[in-house]
């Protein structure tokens, strides 16, 4: 489980770290859209270089980032193969029994694989350089206008931050219960899938019971500290846009301009 780098924060300090979380959220979304509107390989190369440059500037190390692609390798490979075999468009390249690979199919297959890889890398740059709290804060601020039409923006962000707060606590507790059940003779490691799933029951039941008790106590503690929802609430840290946010936004806008030009020119 520790090998999953997606969604993990990697503490550090560089240009990307200092950007406002709102900027990063919007620009990540913009880059992902950009990846999907690109119709040329040159366009992909452009985005790829940009994301790569972002990744380098964080000093996190490309190896660490590429590790994030690992769990998705199967999905990417599957998408590639399916597109390759099922898309029939343009000149025929290979004909082998019932398998037929066309030029158009190959192109779509490569496009989809590149798109998925870029999608993962881009979102990874966001999560690696933005702390969960900053991310939640950014999301809440961005979603705030929606609360006027009844969208629970504050509640969602509060739920997210409480979940983040309790992940380490519950992990610790899971480990404790696991050991306690093992001391009583529980076996979590052997047997087939079904047996192993069954073995989780004595672990999950106490975990859920305790999680509910925790939730109850936490709600009480929050009320004792005058919590009553998002209305009229202020923040210790107010999010603020700086010059670097404008710089980053300008860079992405420029990317859009180039991409549209490339698409229009029909470059390879």
């Amino acid at each position: 489980m520790m090998n999953v780098t997606i969604g993990q924060y990697f503490p550090g300090d560089s240009f990307l770290y200092r950007l406002d979380p709102r900027t990063k959220l919007i620009l990540t979304l913009a880059l992902i859209i950009l990846v999907f509107i690109s119709k040329t390989f040159t366009g992909f190369a452009l985005v790829f270089l940009f994301v790569l440059w972002c990744a380098f500037s964080t000093k996190i190390g490309l190896k660490y980032m590429l590790k994030g692609l690992k769990p998705l390798f199967l999905i990417i490979a599957l998408t590639f193969v399916l597109n390759l075999l099922l898309m029939k468009d343009g000149a025929e390249l290979v004909h082998w029994g019932i398998l037929r690979i066309t030029e158009g199919g190959l192109r779509t297959a490569v496009f989809m694989a590149v798109r998925l890889i870029l999608l993962v890398l881009t979102s990874q740059v966001l999560t690696l350089t933005t702390s969960p709290i900053a991310l939640t804060d950014g999301l809440e601020t961005l979603m705030r206008p929606l609360s006027r039409i009844g969208f629970p923006a504050h509640e969602i962000s509060m739920m997210m931050s409480i979940a983040l707060r309790f992940i380490p606590t519950l992990m610790e507790e899971t480990e404790k219960i696991r050991r306690a059940q093992m001391a009583r003779g529980a076996d979590f490691e052997s047997g087939n899938l079904l047996q192993r799933a069954k073995a989780m029951v004595p672990l999950l039941v106490p975990l859920f019971v305790s999680a509910f008790r925790r939730a109850d106590e936490l709600a009480m503690a929050m009320e004792a500290r005058c919590y009553r929802g998002g209305e009229g609430r202020t923040k210790l840290k107010q999010l603020q846009f700086h010059r670097q946010d404008a710089v980053a936004a300008a860079a992405v806008v420029a990317m859009y301009a180039i991409m549209i030009a490339l698409n229009a020119l029909g470059v390879f």
Binding site: I133, E217, L218, A224, C226, L236
Partner: protein
């Protein structure tokens, strides 16, 4: 006694699914700046009483007045602002993933401007000696440190009263001493009234006044010395008496002419020193 900051008159509370009242007609006055310890065995109603003081529960009969405000559904938030509360489980009262954000939680709820929050949070963290851990994650802290953060979160609200509901029960001896010492200091230096709910005798003996509860009622009340001199009565209420009181009773039984109301180790040392001379 000057004007009481907490005034309970026949206060009672019954949980919906219970057949007896958890708090059954408690009348009590607490003076500003007092350090009051509430003792009682499990189920004696002491935690319920604590929740009445913070408007987490509204009395079903009688009245509870906090700093001149009658506890009611309408004024719950005014009461909570004046009377902070620190709970037993350090993990289940920390809301945020960063120490300073957690400390700011109460102030954010009250709509205090950002600049003022910053100032008060730093002040409160300095007060509890956790300013250097302001950016740490609470999950990296010890139980005692978590309780200090919880206290800082309450102190930042600048309450007149703080209720500690068995706040040291889940800590190791070092953490327990640490948190109790902090509560004493806040009481002495800031003049914050403290209601200290506990079942540790060595804490209760250091209070200005002790109230012993059983079955929702106040059974004994007075200075620690007065209360604990009733050794048999205290024992019959399911509580222990301080070690030194037991020792002095035993020593008297063995023929030593020493007073029965020796509370602390230091006092005992002094008494025995005198006796030896």
């Amino acid at each position: 006694m000057s004007e009481a900051i907490l005034r309970l008159r026949d206060a009672a509370f019954q949980y919906e699914d219970a057949d007896a009242r958890a708090v059954d007609g408690v009348s009590l006055d607490v003076a500003p700046g007092e350090f009051l310890a509430i003792l009682g065995r499990n189920g004696s109603g002491k935690s319920t009483l604590a929740r009445l003081l913070n408007a987490l529960l509204i009395p079903s009969a009688g009245s509870v007045e906090v700093d001149g405000i009658e506890v009611s559904e309408q004024r719950a938030y005014d009461v909570r602002e004046r009377c902070g509360m620190v709970f037993q489980n350090p993990d289940n009262q920390i809301v945020a993933t960063v120490v300073e954000e957690d400390c700011a939680f109460g102030l954010e709820n009250r709509g205090v401007p950002s600049k003022e929050i910053r100032r008060r949070v730093d002040e409160a963290l300095r007060e509890v000696g956790m300013l250097d851990r302001a950016l740490a994650s609470p999950s990296m802290l010890s139980g005692g440190q978590k309780q200090r953060i919880a206290i800082a979160g309450v102190l930042a609200m600048r309450p007149k009263i703080i209720v500690f509901d068995e706040s040291t029960a889940m800590l190791d001896p070092v953490g327990r001493k640490d948190v109790f010492g902090l509560a004493r200091r806040v009481n002495r230096e800031e003049g914050v009234t403290v209601v200290w709910i506990t079942h540790f005798m060595e804490e209760a003996v250091q209070a200005d006044r002790v109230v012993v509860m059983d079955k929702g009622k106040i059974e004994l009340e007075g200075t620690p010395r007065e209360v604990f001199s009733n050794v048999t009565e205290v024992l019959s209420l399911g509580l222990d008496v301080p070690e030194m009181m037991k020792l002095s009773r035993d020593l008297r039984g063995a023929g030593l002419e020493i007073p029965l109301d020796v509370l602390t180790v230091d006092e005992m040392a002094e008494v025995l020193g005198k006796w030896q001379a």
